[in-house]
Point group: C2
Chain length 261, copies 2
């Protein structure tokens, strides 16, 4: 039985990353590929969903591989996964893969990531999910290298299973054959300096561009940021148990102080 994979991204359905990922998985023969992705780039949308306007879907054919079928949606990556699973697809996928994103999704930046948010939506719907990004490379060979890594990871991953509420976030450094291997990592930290560039337009009005220079910090040995910097593919398990359990007793005391007033 072929493994049914829903493929999506945030760079849009025509981006090279999703096209080459789909082709590599399709040509392997073990996978059935269903592509549902945004009609154009939706970067840094976080976990946005579209509530106040209707979504439109169009079938997309791929000239480089007529056997692949896809649907484009005028919405966010999260919209695509939700709509695919709950309305478009006849069968529930076995796995959601989001990517291959052009640009890294490392450390705390995952909170802004449309690529990761599509995988989060898979997790919310109870499906195993993986997000995959290229940290620097933009050549077709870089995308293919990343696609081959995930192609080989899927069978043991489906065999071992993912813990509930958890997705894998993968970042692949540039370098093709010089990649030193893969590492199980933790989310590192990403801090920026001078985040906004203040400018004046031709009419004398102020505007701000989000800019910001990455601050290099000492990273713990097994952070995703450090692994990628050292030439390894980082594979980080991300979960959504967001309650800070350790704080509950202190919080109860705090609430009691307010109630006694």
């Amino acid at each position: 039985m072929a493994i049914k994979i829903l493929v999506t991204n945030d760079d849009g359905i025509h981006a090279e990353g999703i096209q080459l990922l789909s082709r590599v998985l399709f040509e392997d023969g073990r996978y059935r590929i269903m592509i549902v992705a945004p009609d154009h780039e939706r970067s840094a949308v976080g976990h946005a969903i579209t509530m106040h306007r209707p979504l439109r879907v169009e079938q997309v054919n791929f000239l480089h591989n007529p056997a692949l079928k896809g649907w484009s949606v005028n919405g966010t990556p999260s919209d695509c996964v939700k709509l695919a699973v709950e309305a478009l697809l006849e069968e529930k996928p076995d796995l959601v893969i989001s990517g291959i994103n052009r640009g890294s999704n490392l450390g705390t930046d995952v909170l802004y990531s449309g690529t990761v948010s599509a995988a989060v939506e898979g997790v919310i719907l109870g499906l195993p999910a993986v997000a995959i990004s290229l940290t620097g490379g933009k050549e077709s060979s870089d995308f293919i290298r990343a696609a081959e890594f995930i192609r080989d990871l899927i069978p043991p991953l489906m065999d071992a299973g993912l813990p509930g509420g958890t997705l894998l976030n993968i970042n692949v450094p540039p370098g093709g054959n010089s990649i030193r291997g893969a590492r199980a990592t933790r989310l590192g930290t990403r801090r920026y300096r001078n985040s906004f560039d203040r400018r004046t337009d031709p009419r004398g009005l102020t505007y701000y561009w989000l800019a910001g220079e990455l601050v290099e910090e000492e990273e713990e040995a097994n952070s995703d940021v450090r692994a990628v910097g050292e030439g390894y593919i980082s594979v980080t398990p991300i979960h959504f148990n967001l309650t800070n359990e350790a704080m509950i007793p202190d919080l109860e005391k705090l609430i009691a102080r307010v109630s006694r007033r």
Copy 2:
């Protein structure tokens, strides 16, 4: 020394929730209020940020309270907090408060919430942060009741401090004086049934509306969903340690299996 509070929301700067919250805090006398909020409603934007167009800022005056000053931004709640702290405000705030949102932000729905994402941005910038929402009430008295709860919570909260990387997510049920108190809670689960409504437009084309009926599930005793249902204000500590540490050893084995191939 007045406590400096940055107030924002996702309903837009003119929404009653942010106006009444700001007024109640201002009139208390212990707080200095700085309002930076979206120029119009930005619900369900998740943790989106604006990267591909410049942001504009306009000063806003409030007829009901000329002593309050505010700035509207043509961006998301996360944009507002980032821009306020890194470009607009002369002094760093002591606390970020996002709300009062019209509508609940409970359980897994917080992942989609613009209200909560503004508080998340505060946490990323190293500031204590609180998100506050009304689960049902829409009367001015409901907003004022919620504002008074947070007004009284701030001093003990600033005194006790919040653990690093943690925010408080508060939901206030309707009912004014019938509210039974407040509880320290955990994020519950929210599931929806029939999420998309498929329709045909006057030109015969298909479109989809996000809809979905909330599935009532048995909730654990101290979930936020249950607390609010029983007439309590829920106060949930949310953290962003997203790495699933428990999975790392299994993941290392998984990666070893792929590498050996």
